[in-house]
Symmetry: C2
Subunit: 388 residues, 2 copies
Amino acid sequence: MTESFTFAVAKTDGLARTGEIRMPRGIVRTPAFMPVGTAGTVKAMYPDQVKASGADIVLGNTYHLMLRPGAERVASLGGLNRFMNWPYPILTDSGGFQVMSLAQLRKLDETGVTFQSHIDGSTHLLTPERAIEIQGLLGADIQMQLDECVKLPASEAAVEKAMRLSLRWAERCRIAFGEQPGRALFGIVQGGTVERLRAESARELVALDFKGYAIGGLAVGEPQGEMLAVIETVAPRLPDGKPRYLMGVGTPDDIVEAVRRGIDMFDCVLPTRAGRHGSAYTRFGRLNLKNAKHADDPEPIDAESKFAPASTYSKAYLHHLVRSNEILGMMLLTGINLAYYQELMAGLRKAILDGRLEDFVGETKEGWAKGARDGGDEHREIPADHAD
Amino acid sequence: MTESFTFAVAKTDGLARTGEIRMPRGIVRTPAFMPVGTAGTVKAMYPDQVKASGADIVLGNTYHLMLRPGAERVASLGGLNRFMNWPYPILTDSGGFQVMSLAQLRKLDETGVTFQSHIDGSTHLLTPERAIEIQGLLGADIQMQLDECVKLPASEAAVEKAMRLSLRWAERCRIAFGEQPGRALFGIVQGGTVERLRAESARELVALDFKGYAIGGLAVGEPQGEMLAVIETVAPRLPDGKPRYLMGVGTPDDIVEAVRRGIDMFDCVLPTRAGRHGSAYTRFGRLNLKNAKHADDPEPIDAESKFAPASTYSKAYLHHLVRSNEILGMMLLTGINLAYYQELMAGLRKAILDGRLEDFVGETKEGWAKGARDGGDEHREIPADHAD
């Protein structure tokens, strides 16, 4: 296993790329989907199931982990990988997004952001330096700069101000992180839906020479078209040889469209959160297992799935579990959804490698459309916050 | 695999016995602990984990299943075993106990009991014949007669009246069940804590020639001594060649004491329910993982356990999951508890086979006492109802 953090693109197809990120804890095959493990657990999943589903890396939320169990405690217990029994790579966010969406009594200034915990009301200060310190204590393999996410819609002036502050924080994070051979710090491109601001943010971050770049401030309720336009603005301005991560995205269709535009990494609460609320993502679109029409259906979710729960349990049983609010229903549907997401990512990677991405996208969308024609329920849905 | 239902005692040690119940769907090694799978799922467990923990049979609750998803629906989907992906034996209760504890507007007479569903208020009539019909539709391998469980304390007259009604219902169930070679119907001894009534109930049921006998009306809050006294009254009056099932019991200590008195089968919600509420049953007694003293403890629950979650995850991590109300905490602790219960049963079976039950009991209790000395939390706790 490598001692350093490296990224190599093996093949491109149009703007899409497939490759590998190599880190001491493992290889991340890109395009990659990272299940969200907010509080040190991908909800309702055993870590070995997460790995078996095809995930190479999971995401942890700094905001949640710093409040409970606490970064220093996790460090004293050997780091987050050991704490949660996930010996593979972990990416942590900087905490900024959840501070904005969850914490109370925020006070933001040049220094950082002071806030009260939503758990016990205790007061915390998150600065760029502390965000890096916390992520280091957690032992995250990929760490994110602290940024300010403004809620959209916002005035162009507000977006610009937040983007500039995020740039100054990016530089402070870059200095605080220093050089850590086996780990990476990513910068986050901000700038809302304003092309000029996104371009400036990308240019300035590239100058700071991060190991990877994220696109932030999206998946907050905007139409898919706006999100894709931002990707089209930003992706070409990022270095080819570094991974590009679209934060908090998205539906299977969002992922497919973003991969076509050159994105390498994704995280989203949708497969796990939908699984806990009775919905399944499948080759035939999204199914709502709560729906009474499934009550007597002896057929499985997807008879051809390699993931046993998807091909074994009847929709009638899943319907019963969901209606009865049984934990096993959440376990099975979360597993089914993560397996489908990873199946989709594997399909995208292979299609890019084989130079037939557009065909694969067409076939994939035809499957979803078939499900919709058969009474499925594929639609766009954006989660309220990016932790699960 | 056998086509008929048989029971054979392989070895006795004092009053304790070890043996096997053979049924077309599998062998149940006795003394056996049956995890409770109330609504067609052992909560927070995959069926293959339940099997891997050492369970040969699970229990389903007729009351819950008849209301949701409905016995006829389960039958049309191939029976409960297939519905819940558990191809091994299932025992169902008759529904009587939960009708008494959960349903509203009960009206009980000679015919049966009319009640309203606690889920949707719909009205249902449960007669001895319907109880057998429902259990047949579910496809249960071991079925229970309908009985009336009076809440203790009750007057001797009330206990006697309920016991006599239960006897008349036993006969009606026996007739309704008829002869089903691969399946068994068990009679249920009632009579509260009144020796004369328990003796009469046992004698009359034996005359009806059931395939097995249960002791009902216990584990409803009485002191352990009263429970054991009833077992001492009833067990010797039951035929040696038929299995004896103590319904709804109990703590590890209850089980050990009942095995010493000749009981072969148990079911209880404790390991699963406690697991969902942050408690672990271990060789060193009961632990409350919610307790702040576990917050920084890097040690696992039981380093020598053959069950990976018990020997892998730190108490600190389990504490964090429990405090954060994470589903994985419920999954891990339920698994840990069921694994410990099955380890205890395997230990009891082996000790009886080796003719060293009393030594095993002594060693086991010493382990629990050691845990208590080290700050553990072993205590008697009776769940409010017998479904999970």
